[in-house]
């Protein structure tokens, strides 16, 4: 049981970080959208980034990366929200503040994700994370 402790400790910390900063960020982002104030939405995005940073720090402490479940959940949420944003933009119901708020969120998260990959795996390693086939071919050619 004790050998599972690090995973449990990490899980508790990750849940706590997202429950506090993630939901605060979501709330502020929605508040900015509702009141057409880009500044508030941007603070919300900053909170989400803070949650990511916290998550990465916790990963660093426990010497691990994002789990498979976390990655899938993150990408699914990112994809779903992106789809909503694009549909909203196409529907034409968005104000400029909404539009910029959305761009800020998705741009920041996308850029942040790349920065994370580059810093964790290096430029070439990050590319290889997506280009598994090429990497295996390279191995085979050696």
């Amino acid at each position: 049981m004790s050998d599972k402790s690090p995973a449990v400790d990490r899980g508790i910390l990750v849940f706590a970080i997202w429950a506090v900063f993630g939901f605060l960020g979501l709330g502020l982002f929605l508040e900015g959208m509702a009141h057409d104030v880009w500044g508030i939405a941007a603070i919300g995005v900053a909170c989400v980034v803070l949650a990511f940073a916290g998550h990465i720090i916790v990963n660093g402490i426990f010497d691990t990366g994002f789990s498979q479940g976390e990655t899938v959940l993150g990408i699914a949420i990112y994809g779903g929200l992106s789809l909503l944003f694009v549909l909203g933009a196409l529907g034409g119901g968005m104000t400029m503040a909404d539009f910029y708020s959305g761009l800020t969120l998705f741009g920041t998260l996308g850029a942040g994700f790349l920065v994370y990959l580059f810093t964790r795996h290096g430029l070439r390693g990050a590319f290889s994370r997506f280009h598994g086939k090429s990497a295996s071919l390279q191995k085979g050619n050696r």
Partner: protein, 637 residues
């Protein structure tokens, strides 16, 4: 309003996820009650802090400030008051638990004092916390949801649903789930308190507007009493019999409240967390930095801001505030409150269920019960207690409130047996039992529950609640201590049992103070007494005018008593640090504690005696119930 159900659903999923993780980690029923004594110290530190503050800090504390202003400054020292008993008891209690391989307060009382009376009192306190104290908070929360949804969902339905969620994770994951989830719940509660205070400040127009509003209130003679302590003591007949001059908030009323707050960490709930912890390394940091530091800052900062905002504008009271902000924020803050309430409610239900089954039913009536059946019956009892609480929330809120009000003052009475175990080994078994008996009588005679009981029996007491403006906790603990000291002095030659002697030896050897600590003992006593005197005792009357200029203006731009409370929160934090680390009362301990090996004893077959006992209990309960029903039918309720 989709956000609230969405967030509640998400929260429910999270609780079930952690219940599953906990159940997997438990592996079998063997570790259901104590998490295998394997909770991480930092998790325990968070859970102790969260359970100590609980939803009370928002639902009770802030509304107390909103109603009565700054007249009860001890309330503002809740962070320190809640931390102090833990500093005094937890390290030693953990050692006792580790040595005797015990995981709950009732077991410790049974092993050390060999007293069934103390076991029953400990169980009773746990039940009062589970049904009354937590029930009151759940009721307030259910009312809040009903209000937020415009009564689309009624309070009893909400109460039932929220209890079902709590019941789910408690019965699935046991103590481990309470620990794992409790850490997350504590942080959610803290975030909700900060968020609510932030919204209240925004609603009011900032900190300057808050203080300007308070200045305006203080200028009104009708409200001036909200900003001062009403003397040291007033010899009134008590609430409901004779009103105090000005208001009930005297300095000694504050002292009584401080004692009541100190009851939580003497309760079986706190002991349960401590004795389920892997090692005591997190105790000092938890009590000092998490509870007294962060918790104390949240109380003296956010809780007071929230209450003061509602004092100025009742539209900023928690229910109205939640209704006025955006639904996503409202839902998030509600989840924080829910987490705080469920943390203490789940822990209380679990502790009470365990105490009733493992410490009362099993040893008295069915000692042959195996672990699996014990766990199953405990789960059933937890469900029954949760249902009773929900039913009382809906049907008998006044009784619920009267029972809930007993939890903290009765818990304070457990200070004396804990002092006997942890520090004062010359407290004898009989002395402690007599003391606790007198303490309980003192509490019951000064609380509405006791009054109602005596009134039902035809005895009307000539005093009301909290005579002389003193809290029932004080009316209980003073006779409790006096009787215990007196009886112990007379019966000092009566020897303790084997386990108790072993514990005395262990504590004397393992925790022997070094020369540095011994040299600081007088300083420590002086610091504590001075802090209690000035922060929550008679010295509070200096706080009335400490930060008021000669022209009557507030020198700090805030009420003098608030400034006084901030000053003594900082001083109290220093005091808790000094006691925890420098006096080594809660400092980390690295020595291994070998288990106690009891002398072999012959075990007799108890089946016949247990069956007879069970028969007697059933007949007594049935007869008692019948007499009560007949009395009510004959003479009215």
């Amino acid at each position: 309003m989709i956000w609230l159900p969405l967030y509640v659903l998400f929260y429910t999923l999270v609780t079930l996820y952690w219940a599953r993780i906990a159940a997997q980690a438990n592996g079998s029923d063997q570790t259901y009650f104590s998490a295998g004594h394997d909770l991480q110290p930092w998790v325990s530190a968070l859970v102790i802090a969260g359970a100590s503050l609980s939803g009370w800090v928002v639902l009770g504390g802030a509304s107390e400030v909103a109603l009565h202003g700054f007249g009860q400054p001890a309330l503002l020292q809740a962070g320190i008051a809640l931390a102090l008993p833990g500093v005094l008891f937890f390290k030693r209690l953990w050692l006792v638990g580790e040595r005797l391989r015990l995981s709950s307060q009732a077991e410790v009382f049974r092993a050390y004092y060999r007293s069934e009376f103390l076991v029953v009192v400990s169980t009773l306190v746990a039940v009062l916390f589970a049904v009354g104290f937590a029930g009151m908070q759940l009721r307030a929360l259910s009312g809040l949801v009903a209000q937020l949804t415009g009564d689309a969902v009624t309070a009893p339905v909400v109460g039932l649903a929220l209890s079902a969620v709590m019941f789910g994770y408690v019965v699935i994951g046991g103590m481990r789930a309470i620990g794992y989830l409790g850490a997350v719940q504590t942080l959610l509660l803290a975030a909700a308190l900060i968020g609510l205070a932030g919204f209240a400040l925004v609603g009011l127009g900032g900190f300057d507007a808050l203080n300007a509003g308070l200045v305006a209130l203080a200028a009104d003679p009708a409200h001036a009493g909200l900003f001062s302590v009403a003397g040291v003591i007033q010899f009134t007949a008590g609430i409901g019999r004779e009103a105090a001059a000005g208001h009930e908030g005297t300095a000694l009323a504050s002292l009584g409240l401080l004692f009541a707050l100190m009851g939580f960490q003497a309760s079986p709930l706190a002991a349960k967390i401590v004795m389920s912890t892997r090692n005591p390394r997190g105790l000092a940091a938890g009590q000092t930095w998490v509870l007294a530091g962060v918790g104390g800052a949240l109380v003296v900062g956010c809780m007071v801001v929230l209450g003061a905002a509602a004092l100025i504008d009742p539209g900023l009271a928690v229910p109205q505030l939640l209704a006025s902000i955006s639904p996503w924020f409202s839902a998030w803050l509600f989840i924080g409150l829910l987490a705080g309430v469920q943390l203490v409610a789940g822990l209380a239900l679990f502790t009470a269920g365990e105490a009733l089954v493992r410490h009362i039913y099993k040893p008295w009536f069915q000692s042959s019960l195996n672990r699996q059946d014990t766990v199953t019956i405990t789960r059933v009892v937890i469900g029954v207690l949760a249902l009773i609480s929900v039913a009382m929330q809906a049907l008998t809120p006044v009784t619920l409130s009267a029972l809930g009000a007993l939890a903290l003052p009765l818990s304070v009475q457990l200070w004396v047996p804990l002092l006997g175990i942890c520090w004062l080994g010359w407290f004898g078994r009989g002395a402690v039992m007599a003391g606790v008996g007198f303490g309980i009588a003192g509490v019951l005679l000064t609380e509405p529950a006791g009054h109602a009981l005596l009134s039902y029996l035809g005895l009307d007491l000539p005093w009301g609640r909290w005579p002389w403006t003193l809290h029932s906790a004080l009316w209980g603990i003073v006779p409790n201590l006096c009787v215990t000291l007196l009886v112990s002095a007379v019966t000092r030659r009566i020897r303790l049992g084997e386990e108790a002697q072993d514990i005395r030896q262990l504590l004397d050897v393992t925790l022997r103070s070094g020369p540095k600590v011994r040299a600081l003992q007088v300083t420590a006593w002086s610091v504590v007494l001075a802090w209690v005197f000035l922060a929550a005792g008679p010295g509070l009357i200096f706080g009335n005018s400490a930060f008021v200029g000669t022209d009557g203006a507030w020198l700090l731009g805030m009420p003098s008593l608030w400034g006084w409370a901030l000053l003594f929160w900082a001083a109290g934090l220093g005091m808790v640090w000094f006691l925890s680390y420098k006096m080594e009362l809660a400092s980390p301990l690295t020595v291994g504690i070998p288990p106690y090996a009891p002398k072999p004893r012959l075990r007799y077959d108890q089946t016949v005696a247990e069956a007879a006992r069970l028969r007697t209990a059933v007949i007594t309960i049935a007869a008692g119930f019948g007499i009560v029903v007949m009395t009510v039918l004959s003479f009215g309720g």
